[in-house]
Amino acid sequence: MIRLAWRNVWRNRRRSLINVASMGFGLAAIMFGQSLLRSLQVQLIEKSTGSITGHLQVQDDKADLVKMPDRFIVDPRPAAAALENDPRVRASGGRIHLTGLVSTPATSVGALICAVDPEKEKIITDMHAYMTQGDYLGKTAKGLVLGESLAKRLDLRMGEKAVIMAQAADGSMGAEAFRLVGLYRTGSESFDNQIVYVPLAAFQELLARPGQVNNYVAKLKDIEQADEVQKDVAAALKGLPLRVLSWKQIDHEILGVKAFQDAILFIVLCVVFAIVALGILNTQLMSLFERVREFGVLMAIGARPRWVMRLLLVESALLGAVGTLFGLCVGAVLIAHFGRAGLSLPVGEALSYFLPFPSVIYMRPNWTAHATACLAVFATTVLAALPPALRAGRLKPAEALRHV
């Protein structure tokens, strides 16, 4: 049967090639869409967690806000121990994220002050990679790193001092002068205009909170392990007034964006599947009408109705297999090419207000999704052949033989 089916598939070569091409390019488009979306989402997560959030954070469990906890961890040592002792953690460190005021003789600007341990922060986030002048705090005890545009607004040059003010532990306004040691440019308006970096110890002194932090952040060796590490660290810290959050809880809006994008992709996929299915249905119906007499002959010489149905389904399955293989090859080549060369999209600009995001997407395969798409396209081709196959199975030999 397979030999006959295979030859029947290529009986009308042009029509079959058009079908294979439509299936193949349809599948390649699906794979491209899946890969693009996946790459975009992965880059979005990498950038978001790599710019500020990290993969896990330990916070005071009574803090109202998750992005910038409004309560401090008075003794971060248990959190430090739990994270540092976990082999799945690449680096961890205490931080303070707090709003404050940066003042120069020229002006004062409200800013988000990130007080960090510079050496640890270089592993946890990639902000140091955006430095355009000076260095990322280095060993300067009261150094200050600003975005270029914020420095310009403050009229502050390298080596000059700015005063940072923030509410201290006793409610008073703490103030301290910090010297500008580095400038960065991410291209993100919210980062470059609003976020300043200072050494953790100096800022703790300014706030009169020695040793205290308002989040203890960790970067994992594998982000996919975030949930299980979160669970284990939470278990280790049980009984303490602390909570352990993964990036999914802190940057939950990214998951919302991801779900939205996945929904759009699903709708697009349904449309593509419908187009493929209609193409196959049309081909098989034409094939049926052209070969009614032949089916009559097959039935006359002893083919059962079910056998004739199977023949049409096998033909469709073979056509589907060729189309799927072709689409898989085209899709894989496209993804491999844009994985190396990158795909330039204005997405960086679209997201630049919120995040430093590159305008080049490096596509990566999403084999689970691609395998599902291949199976779905293949199944669609077989299912689309079902109505004509059922019709062929109901043919009466004598009537089929009279068909012109």
């Binding site: 049967m1 030999r3 006959l4 030859r7 029947n8 009986r11 007499r293 032949e294 009559g296 002959v297 097959l298 039935m299 006359a300 010489i301 002893g302 083919a303 059962r304 109705p305 079910r306 056998w307 009466k396 030999p397 004598a398 009537e399 033989l401």
Partner: protein, 226 residues
């Protein structure tokens, strides 16, 4: 099964095609075909020859009456059982040859054996033998479009006999052939009938063809005459 039973028997066969004007293509036909017969159904166009062959060949169901093979009624069998019955018992030759165009001559001849589930080696051997009986052993690898009409009809005959059916039904087998090729085909059918005991029931309105039959059954307006 009793040896007294005819190979095939039509009892009170009637076929009425439904529609605005009901057409009775076959009316009250009783016919017995014994093993080894070389029988022709004669009659002008529209006399019901093809319909009667289709009914006897179980390709169509009668409106009334029944068809029996060796005493067993087959007219009411389900479609799948009828297909199995045809596969084991009957061979068909059609006016328009009706070979499968994507298969070679040898593969066409093999096909009933494929449907029977015969293994590749055995069915190839049987198909080659059948092709040699019709004198086309050298043409096995050719597709139908590379064969003449006469050669295609010989391949169709080989396909009809490859599985050693009890009877071959041929509907106007020479109608699309020139007289010389038609005569050669009839020679072949006669030889198969005499040398290999293949029972033939065929239809024709050509006197030259009918003259070769050992028995001629006349059909006029769907009824047997004489």
């Amino acid at each position: 099964m009793s040896k007294a039973q005819p190979l095939a028997e039509a009892r009170g066969l009637e076929k009425i095609y439904p529609g605005g004007t009901k057409v009775a293509a076959v009316r009250g036909v009783d016919l017995r075909v014994e093993r080894g017969e070389f029988t022709a159904l004669a009659g002008p166009s529209g006399s019901g020859k093809s319909t009667l062959l289709n009914l006897i060949g179980t390709l169509d169901r009668p409106t009334k009456g029944e068809v029996l093979y060796e005493g067993r009624s087959v007219s009411r069998l389900p479609a799948s059982d009828l297909a199995d019955f045809r596969l084991r018992t009957l061979g068909f030759v059609f006016q328009a040859y009706n070979l499968i165009p994507v298969l070679t001559a040898l593969e066409n001849v093999e096909y009933p054996l494929v449907l029977q589930g015969v293994g590749p080696g055995e069915r190839r051997r049987a198909a080659q033998e059948a092709l040699s009986w019709v004198g086309l052993e050298a043409y096995g690898d050719r597709r139908p479009d590379l064969l003449s009409g006469g050669q295609q009809q010989r391949v169709a005959v080989a396909r009809a006999i490859v599985h050693r059916p009890a009877m071959v039904l041929a509907d106007e087998p020479t109608a699309n052939l020139d007289s010389k090729t038609g005569a050669a085909l009839l020679d072949l059918m006669q030889a198969l009938n005499q040398d290999h005991a293949v029972t033939f029931l065929f239809s024709s309105h050509d006197p030259a063809v009918l003259s070769r039959a050992r028995r001629v059954v006349h059909l006029v307006d769907g009824e047997l005459r004489g």
